[in-house]
Symmetry: C2
Subunit: 344 residues, 2 copies
């Protein structure tokens, strides 16, 4: 579709614009060294590239900036696979060496590292509860009438919620129920828990337990796994404010509002079905209007070959694509390895 020279020039323009955030003129491209043509020649090519929709002109007599289509082409034809420099590698390595003991902390920490390395905003989606199974169930009386239900998942996540205990239910009864549950339901995937509760335990409980119906209700609540409740971790949101394109408060407001809305973020971060690896969504390719001037680069991490969460970087469309893609690649890979090892 494009000649080699056009590709070369387009690449140079995108690179320059990513660095400077200023419209790029023909002269500056000519002076770069890697494009050995005079400004006039480059101007001609630029005019062609604009006509083809890869470049835009903010106004006559300004330089050119890449259009969304231009960025898309740039990303799709990225050649130089980015490799981390020694310091960055060290950062990553020391992160995985730290062996954070709680998954939450680990993910939050990963988000911090990501935003720090890229100077963009990082968004991490915690492991999905659907693909994990029950490792242990516990019901601890808090005071009369209330108890903490604790669910430990196969990924080491601990979810807890407080439930009301109906009057008349004794502690020994509770213990009996908990034991039964652990016996029968361990290793059952979380999303199947409630069905199994009724199909497998119903009969047995009815035989042994006095307050069968009331307790079923309690368990029903305790095992409720809200499919919407996945943890979203953010870091480096302020980096957004350092981008010259967002020096106007009106432009950031919508973005920040979006970042406060967990469900919307989850939707944005959800990988396209079937996609593995790094995905780049440029400008209006994103489904949310607030970030139509942003690019979102995401990658997934997996446990047992199954994608359970995603990591992402949000920045202006003028983004260091190669770098960010490289970093996400490494991190998603390492995260997968770490989790798999952990999960065994």
């Amino acid at each position: 579709m494009l000649t080699d020279r056009q590709r070369l020039i387009l690449n140079a323009i995108v690179d320059d614009y990513i660095r400077s955030a200023e419209p790029v003129g023909s002269r500056s491209i000519s002076k770069r060294g890697d494009v050995g043509y005079s400004p006039a020649t480059i101007r001609n090519e630029m005019a062609d590239l604009e006509e083809l929709g890869f470049l835009e002109q903010p106004h006559t007599s300004a330089g050119r900036i890449p259009s969304h289509k231009g960025y898309r082409y740039y990303v799709d034809h990225l050649t130089s696979s980015f490799s981390l420099n020694p310091e960055e590698l060290h950062m990553m390595k020391s992160f995985f060496a730290e062996k954070l003991n709680v998954m939450e902390q680990m993910i939050q920490h990963a988000a911090g590292i990501l935003s720090q390395m890229t100077n963009y905003t990082s968004i991490l989606l915690g492991p999905e509860v659907f693909h994990t199974s029950l490792r242990h169930f516990q019901l601890l009386p808090l005071n009369e009438g209330q108890a903490v239900a604790i669910i430990v998942t196969s990924t080491g996540q601990v979810e807890n919620k407080i439930v009301s205990i109906p009057q008349g239910v004794s502690v020994s009864e509770l213990e009996q129920v908990v034991n039964l549950l652990n016996e029968k339901l361990v290793n059952v995937p979380l999303y199947k828990l409630k069905t199994r509760l009724y199909t497998e335990l119903g009969a047995e409980m009815q035989r042994h337990i006095a307050h069968y119906e009331e307790l079923m209700k309690v368990l029903d609540i305790a095992l409720e796994n809200e499919p919407d409740h996945r943890d979203v971790y953010l870091s480096g949101t302020t980096n957004m404010l350092n981008q010259p394109e967002f020096k106007d408060v009106d432009k950031v407001r919508d973005i920040f509002e979006l970042l406060e809305q967990t469900p919307a973020l989850m939707k944005l971060m959800a990988p396209a079905p079937g996609e593995h690896g790094v995905q780049v969504r440029i400008g209006t390719e994103n489904t949310h209007e607030a970030i139509s001037n942003c690019s979102l680069i995401t990658a997934t991490y997996s446990i047992d070959g199954k994608a359970v969460g995603s990591i992402g970087i949000l920045g202006p469309t003028r983004m260091e694509y190669a770098r960010v893609i490289g970093i996400l690649n490494v991190l998603s890979h390492d995260l997968t390895k770490l989790l798999s090892h952990w999960y065994k």
Copy 2:
């Protein structure tokens, strides 16, 4: 210190400025109706008030704006105790009616309500781990070599972390240790846990348990209660962007950066020792430079008469003090009631 008329005028100026965010002139005060003096008289008083340090002039021939000292005086002499309007009362009531079962969710929700009602940024500090005691301790094997340590506190909070189990320690040994711990350490305040572990359990464990030393190390890690780890909940950070004083990105950047730093926020939100009730810190009265143009209003909530956490509102110094103070009063009171009831 001030005459009645000066007080009246100062009040009017602060009120006006809170509403308009524009320097207030003598004429507009005169026309308000509640100050029955001519612009000239008011000008004279304004000059005096400026000399006394209660007002400032952005430049000659602009109106006056309150200084930090002016706000302080205004707050200290607030007369009209603000009362919530029916809708707001309804909002509050429905919040407490919702009976969220996990403390985390409840606090996050409270933060949302607060920011929504005030149009400022709300900051909530979760219940402090220091004043709570151990209700239950649990050690659940995850796989060989690792286990989840779960600590349930008297306030219903569940903390968990993953620890490594030394080789050669059997499951029955672990159970023995856990039983011993629950027997001896339940109801011990968290911050005393580690001391007690050594003083009370050391001897007994040494007698009964084979891998005494290794296990002590494990418990030491498991019971580590990081005093820094308190949960901070934010809501409505974007409201900051709607304030005209922060239309310049440079002014918000520092604030947003501060809001990302949990430890710094905790320090800011910590109540002055011995203080109960609502506290107002205006401008530079705050210890952090980033919010020297902001006011932070905080209140504490308690369990059993002991302050365990705080709720706060961050906004520009030009803040609706009366309103915010009123709302915080109500919320902190209700929160205390709810928690006390919950905790029994």
